[in-house]
Amino acid sequence: MLSAISGMQPRQLAAQVLNFALVLSTAFMLWKGLSVATDSPSPIVVVLSGSMEPAFQRGDLLFLWNRARNTQIGEVVVYNVRGKDIPIVHRVVRKFGGGIKPLRLLTKGDNNLADDTELYARGQDYLDRAADVIGSVKGYIPFVGYVTILISEHPWLKTVIFGLMGAVVVLQRE
């Protein structure tokens, strides 16, 4: 493998590396483009827990939309717990405010008995739509996100896949 690389001239090597870099860059920019279009920092999320079963299972892929700031009761929203970086996907069960007043929401997982008050930050009883919610679920694809769960639970997988991709794109000339 190394002999193949050393056999290439510098421009050729640069072109091969460019191919690989372009693949990564295009994927990243598509993600960012989607993020800006939906106005959500994370427009596609993977369901990690079973708290919304039977609607969402672990490994499902959810598509978010964050431009409708007037969230209604019954919608499923993704929010970050203040102070922590854990996104949670639950349904809105209470809604207060709106208009010029901040929209306050209470959420609960379909499969949970209690609402999310205990999950919120200390002293916080309701979510603030503008500050805490990063999107509302509009679409859904089952199963396909399971790969990311595998990767997050076995981090070495990420390095392996990345390395394989890199080797394949640099060395192949399709």
């Binding site: 609607a55 499923v76 069960v93 209470r94 809604k95 405010g97 379909d110």
Partner: protein
């Protein structure tokens, strides 16, 4: 095909393409099979009883707030919502009432083009049900007790007027877009949350102004909490 790896790649690529196309077809056809107008569904809800009592959000909380317990009748036929792409229907009944006009104007995030400056109605879900098949889509509940006891964000829900119960649903597909719906018939007549039930020692003697018949003393608010 000049190597096993390339063959495997091609098979996998073909598989994902086919799966993607089939998924897209299912999503699109399922979406257009749903009834376009929620009013075409047969739903109705009636309030049977409502009581307000003092309670705590959790057993360890020191806050004392007013909680409302509602009893209702429900008739619903949600079978038109079940297409080949319907995984489940989440049915929910909410109590909707106009918020109190408070003089203390809080930190208002004034957006340039907000639709209305007034806060919308306050909503709280009192009952929900997950329906997973067409057979279970006919519901007939009589004098059903609400799953959740609700309160206002201010903690005071007694004596609020112009409240209604509304039925709504959320159709969860196997693949594709989630849809929500409601029916104009699925709305109860306006009612008012009664005054706080006094917690006097005399069982049932206190003349609390409840609109409907008093169901035998249900003083379950205190520690049971909304964690039904």
């Amino acid at each position: 095909m000049h190597s096993t790896l390339v063959r495997a790649q091609n098979v996998f690529g073909f598989f994902t393409t086919v799966a993607f196309i089939v998924g897209a077809l299912v999503a699109v056809t399922g979406y257009f099979s749903l009834p376009s107008d929620g009013n075409s569904l047969d739903v109705s809800v009636d309030l049977k009883n409502v009581q307000v009592a003092r309670g705590r959000p959790h057993y360890y909380s020191s806050k004392r707030e007013e909680y409302a317990q509602i009893r209702f009748d429900l008739d619903a036929d949600l079978s038109p919502l079940f297409t080949w792409n319907t995984k489940q229907v989440f049915l929910y009944i909410m109590a909707s009432y106009p918020p109190s006009v408070s003089s203390a104007s809080r930190d208002s995030k004034k957006k340039g083009s907000s639709p209305s400056p007034n806060p919308g109605p306050s909503n709280a879900i009192i009952y929900d049900k997950i329906i997973t098949s067409r057979d279970e889509a006919h519901l007939e509940l009589r004098n059903q007790r609400s799953k959740y006891q609700i309160t206002d964000i201010s903690g005071r829900i007694a004596n609020r007027h112009n409240a209604t119960l509304e039925v709504a649903w959320n159709v969860q597909p196997w693949v594709g877009a989630l849809t929500w719906g409601t029916s104009s018939e699925g709305r109860s007549k306006a009612f008012a949350f009664p005054a706080l039930k006094s917690t006097g020692a005399g069982g049932g003697g206190a003349a609390t102004a409840t609109k409907k018949k008093n169901v035998a003393g249900e003083q379950t608010m205190g520690s049971a909490a909304p964690a039904a």
